[in-house]
Symmetry: C2
Subunit: 416 residues, 2 copies
Amino acid sequence: MERLPGFRDFYPEPLPANEAWSCDLRQHIFARWRETARRYGFREYDGPPLEPLELYTTKSGAEIVSQLFNFQDKGGRDVSMRPEMTPTVARMIATAERAYKKPVRWFSIPQLFRYEKQQKGRLREHFQLNCDLFGETDPAADAEVLALLIDGLRSLGLTAADFVIRLSSRQAWQGFFHGRGGDPARAQEFYQVIDKIERERDEVTAERLRSVGIDLADVRAFIAAGEPTPDLARVLADLSARGLAEFARIDYGVIRGLAYYTGIVFEAFDRKGEFRAIAGGGRYDDLVKLVSGGKADLPALGFGMGDVVLAELLKSRGLVPSFAGAVDVVVLVEDEAMRAESIGLVQRLREDGRAVEFALVPTKGDKQFKRALELGARVTLRVQSTPTGPTVLVKSLADRIQREVAMADSVAACRP
Amino acid sequence: MERLPGFRDFYPEPLPANEAWSCDLRQHIFARWRETARRYGFREYDGPPLEPLELYTTKSGAEIVSQLFNFQDKGGRDVSMRPEMTPTVARMIATAERAYKKPVRWFSIPQLFRYEKQQKGRLREHFQLNCDLFGETDPAADAEVLALLIDGLRSLGLTAADFVIRLSSRQAWQGFFHGRGGDPARAQEFYQVIDKIERERDEVTAERLRSVGIDLADVRAFIAAGEPTPDLARVLADLSARGLAEFARIDYGVIRGLAYYTGIVFEAFDRKGEFRAIAGGGRYDDLVKLVSGGKADLPALGFGMGDVVLAELLKSRGLVPSFAGAVDVVVLVEDEAMRAESIGLVQRLREDGRAVEFALVPTKGDKQFKRALELGARVTLRVQSTPTGPTVLVKSLADRIQREVAMADSVAACRP
């Protein structure tokens, strides 16, 4: 029996043939994400992976349903596996906002699901770091969230030579559109054309822009000028004060597809342009109100960063660490008369924090030693019987130097 | 809009009114589980939360479908959200067993889903630590897995006064049943009666036992005697060698409901008997072969430990740590002329590993200080302008002692 197409198994390393996804690498990424969020005072939350279908159709309209893993549950409810986290976190904060001091800084690492049309390598699930800040309209909040995104990528070893944040603004494009007499009712339509400008042929874009009364050359000139809005100028100054200026630049070629963004928007890309966006986000000041049916009204902004493009980027830049050495100590049982003593020692070593393996059944000594080398162990221990009671032979595998210690000293002898 | 019944939101602490599930506590439990698994040389894996429906019906028969979140996906596939992890891990190891040295020691922390009949407090999802060991038939492997379970609970502060593992054996009951001339074709039916013996009225149990030719008093006497099988005697001796004897006892009142167990089975319970089982597992030597259609054949055993009963037990025993103090340092911005300097300092502190917050917008000094206290910060910093350039006032919040340091020394001054 095989797994479903578009879903991943995550194996421990070394990976089996034909398997690409390492659970070790995934957990390495998650650990760096969590550590960075912690440094920014962001607190972890999570919601259900299954939500009422309505949570998504309210925000994105009925057309989103074709991309969802949705169904009717045994109680007749229309439900969907979550395709994104923002509606869930908006629902959660709307319910509970009074319990938290503003601004609220939250993050989560949900697995998300989309029924994408099947294409080679196209996945139907991925994990995504979601960081959101609620309750602050000032661009200082936008800068704080951008700095978190930048440091999240830096924590994995990526530098300004590897990635850049392209900063844009819904207000900038709104000003452009209204300044040219665009019909406010067609603004979303206009944004959708801008969102596709880099992937679409120019003739098609020009035609679509004409239909909303806009000229392609005018759009191109606006992008080329890249004049920051007052909010963006504030964000750039803030990032400069943090020493992070080189990680971001104004780029109005970005606008983000989702309808709910209201202010600054951004995407992170690799500098070489080899991959799709690494992360994306922006300000969505009206969504909490929409999702809560008016019960709560909080300005908000945030971003999502997926594990798939990021893992590919880390691999291509040589930034995947070695995951060997998961075991510190191997206790060799060469004398079966010493097995009970050896097992007791294993237990004490583990209680002292060491990662320990030993041969569960009688095994040749050289085979046990070979296994210790394969596991990348730092130390082997061997309990030996002496006339005055058992002692322990401690061998450092780096230099193969062996010494004999008293049983009572053997646990301390294995501390790194 | 509300979340679905039986699903949980996990909020950061302090929890909002009417919310019971703390993401901080959840992550605390996960961290202890991961740390314990690491000490035992177990490696993390994960599989898809959505699997082919057939993966579950093959193992458990069609009747399981009524308890599943199953549906037909947009490609017409019959799929199900995973109700347990064992079929997934059996599928994964069957595919990849040649890549790994035996015994294979794996763990995972999946979220699992069951469409339980709606009852007060009855959940439809939970997280579960799954630890499995493949490729070893010797009872030493059973002891190793049991020790891991015991240490997983001890890592959370639980002691032998709080919980005990009830050890049993399918072979013991098989021997009993065959010894009384039971029909081998009805052995599973007999095990099901034993599995319910503690929850069912005696008259019902006696009647059901009679129908398979067994006497209740005989069963009671067998449980009371609790004579260990040779395998169980080996396990008890091994746990004794580890100093863990007090955490386990023979108890044939346990047999485990699932059909696929083949050897030693066990459940962990709180000593006071207040809660349902904390964890359960056993040996399932035939399942890999069944799930892989004969492609692979590996002896196996393992256990699952859920987060729900465990969290309740930790709460009732006062073993939930405080999750305040998520922020180390608050940088106070009392002089807006020093904001850029302050933001630069925030960045350097975070790069040094501190968790830092600061007021994103101009805020009264006493309000900022109050916020630092609420956050449980250890230190506040304040950048001040002096004729020779900015310096930093460092205040320890434990003793309220303040000292002035040079900007260049301020990051080091905040290290714990």
